[in-house]
């Protein structure tokens, strides 16, 4: 069911963006944006197809009556335009080409002026600074050809949060123009790496999805690896060395408070939260054997999910409804991906291609599983359907590893050590269509990205 819906949405996504303008009109009448995918028989999901033409959009400076408000308005517009541009779906028009000024738009856009510079959509807004440190932002999205107001939103916040306001506005624009939930008001937690490879410092770091507001969450004394966001709370589970032994930790982002999870007799690693946030699934290795366990965070009870004394079973990830778990195992001789029921029964192999398949991660939409693959000395990032069909490779290099999903299931991020400089490590994002591959800027080398859910 959800799979079918995913397919329909993919079709919508793959169509020329011009088609969305038609969709909006209908969507407005029905006041329901999602189910209006024109599912034509001749359309199919095919990543070999050329890239879609990004939609030309004009993001005007948000108007402010005071100098301070005007400055915020300019910065907010800039963040919105950059977000939309990075998505690869929009082409913000250079604001030096704009004919109509921000102030005059307070009484409505002159559509002819915007048609003349080939804008298909227009974003306008207004900022008011109230009571010193608070601001109110109002924004509107316009369809230039239909001469219609599509959506409007009013947001209030302390002024220090202006970037989040810009991200929320970006999410709303994305939602109205693609029919998909956005992913701009999100954060990335990752491992910041410094120093030479044999004594590399690996610290936990967190930033907004656009690279701003960087903060370190650990001091680098203990090596940190593989952070994962809680889907429900401001918490991260990750691996930290504790007296020389890898242990899964739980960290509260705001207070910095943390604990080692459970009293396991062996080292623990590869943690991930359940979709309800109540459990953590992880791997414990002891006596030369790695198996998968689930720990209830409230009762601290631990259940063993795999018991295979001769195989390495690790890298588990839940399906979005929590009923199934995907993981990797070398029980067939080399690593392949398997899906099992939540309780650990009935596992079946889903990868049969050439090479090794590792670190499967279930999409938040449920329709795809992202993975790392290695074959003949190269690494690949790909996606496959949970039934094992439809495998597609999205990216490859000397080393690419550790995919993580944007909350809308449309974009993946992973880390890369490129052939031309395998000593470096960088974060990369890519659409699941295989297009729009971009380096995500970080101030240091970086690895193991994990995308947060949308911030409430």
């Amino acid at each position: 069911m959800s799979f079918f819906e995913g397919k329909k949405r993919s079709r919508l996504y793959r169509r020329g963006l011009g088609a969305f303008i038609v969709v909006w009109g209908i969507a407005l009448l029905l006041t329901l944006a999602v189910p209006i995918a024109p599912a034509r028989a001749d359309l199919r999901v095919d990543i070999t197809r050329g890239q879609v033409e990004p939609m030309p959009i004009a993001v005007s400076n948000f108007f402010g009556a005071s100098e301070e408000a005007g400055e915020f308005g300019r910065k907010i517009s800039e963040v919105i335009a950059r977000n939309l541009e990075r998505s690869g779906l929009f082409r913000p028009i250079d604001n030096r080409a704009f004919i109509q000024g921000s102030e005059s738009m307070q009484s409505g856009p002159r559509f002819a002026d915007w048609r003349q510079i080939n804008a298909q959509a227009l974003v306008t807004g207004r900022v008011q600074v109230v009571a010193g440190d608070r601001m109110e932002v109002e924004f509107r999205l316009w369809d230039i050809f239909a001469e219609e107001h599509l959506v409007g939103l009013r947001l209030g916040s302390v002024s220090g949060q202006w970037r989040r306001i810009a991200h929320k506005v970006s999410d709303e624009i994305y939602r109205r123009l693609t029919g998909e939930v956005g992913y701009f008001d999100t954060r990335i937690v990752y491992i910041a790496e410094t120093g030479p490879a044999d004594k590399r410092t690996k610290r936990l770091a967190i930033m907004d999805q656009d690279g701003h507001n960087l903060r370190y969450l650990t001091d680098g004394q203990q090596m940190a690896l593989t952070p994962r966001f809680s889907p429900t709370a401001q918490e991260i589970t990750y691996l930290s060395y504790n007296q020389g032994i890898p242990r899964v930790n739980l960290l509260k982002i705001d207070s910095g408070q943390q604990e080692v999870l459970g009293k396991f007799p062996g080292m623990t690693f590869a943690p991930r939260f359940s979709p309800d946030g109540n459990s953590v699934i992880l791997t414990m290795a002891t006596e030369g054997n790695s198996d998968i366990f689930e720990m209830d965070l409230r009762s601290h009870k631990v259940h063993r999910l795999t018991n295979n004394p001769t195989a390495t079973e690790t890298a588990p990830s839940y399906s979005p409804n929590g009923d199934a778990i995907v993981f990797e195992s070398d029980r067939s001789g080399e690593q392949q991906i398997y899906v099992m029921e939540r309780k650990g029964s009935q596992s079946r192999r889903i990868t049969f291609g050439k090479g090794r398949y590792m670190t499967p991660v279930w999409s938040p939409r449920g329709d795809l599983i992202a993975f790392t693959k290695s074959h003949r000395g190269r690494f690949y990032i790909g996606v496959i359907k949970p039934d094992g069909s439809g495998e597609r490779i999205l990216s490859q290099d000397y080393l690419v590893e550790g995919p993580t999903w944007a909350p809308n299931g449309r974009v993946l991020m992973f880390f890369r050590k490129p052939s031309h400089n395998p000593d470096s490590s960088e974060l990369v994002s890519i659409d699941i269509t295989g297009h729009n591959e971009r380096i995500v800027f970080t101030t240091t080398d970086a690895s193991d990205p994990a995308w947060s859910p949308l911030t409430p």
Binding site: L225, T226, G244, T314, D423
Partner: protein
């Protein structure tokens, strides 16, 4: 660097006993640094080289010379440096394997003898991998390697309570290249004296 420290310290020392104690201390500091930088496949020539360098540079009183040269030519028995130079602190593995090679087994047999000589010592065996795998899988593989080494030491008669294991996966390479030679040196289990 340590030689300087050593010289300053020895000038300040009055009694011979104190002097020897000081020498021991600085020598063990030195050995820690060497291990950290990790040249465990250091050759005999290199050791002799640094030895003779001290002899030629240091024209200090005879007593001092004696102590210094003893320190460098023969690491203090029971230290990590002793294990590295006289026994071998590590065993290497084939690609994606945690099976001990015959050579690895011989090294571990020597380690077992050494551990019998120093019954007060316990060790941590660190399992490591080359870079051609994911972080998660390599953590598991490193654990299998350190476990294999531990099992061998137990089979050679060492009390299991003296041997802990851990894994660094591919996170702490020994050789920094991206080629077969480096990968070979990085697939290892290293015994570290506590």
């Amino acid at each position: 660097m340590w030689k300087k420290l050593f010289a300053v310290r020895s000038m300040l020392l009055v009694g011979a006993v104190l002097f020897v104690a000081g020498a021991c201390e600085s020598a063990s500091e030195d050995s820690t640094v060497t291990i950290g930088e990790g040249d465990a496949v250091q050759t005999a020539e290199q050791i002799i080289d640094s030895d003779s360098a001290v002899d030629s540079v240091d024209a200090a009183p005879v007593e001092e010379l004696d102590v210094a040269s003893v320190d460098l030519s023969a690491p203090i028995p029971g230290t990590q440096e002793d294990l590295v130079q006289n026994v071998g602190d590590r065993v290497l593995f084939d690609y994606d394997s945690a099976v001990l090679t015959p050579e690895g087994r011989r090294t571990l047999e020597r380690q077992a003898e050494w551990l019998r000589l120093f019954p007060e010592h316990s060790i941590m065996i660190e399992g490591h991998c080359d870079e051609r795998g994911t972080r998660e899988y390599n953590l598991a593989l490193g654990e299998r390697r350190s476990h294999a080494a531990r099992e061998a030491l137990i089979a050679f008669g060492i009390d299991p309570s003296r041997i802990k294991t851990t894994s660094y996966g591919k996170e702490r390479p020994y050789a920094l290249g991206h080629n077969k030679e480096s990968w070979k040196l990085n697939r290892r289990a290293v015994s570290v004296v506590n």
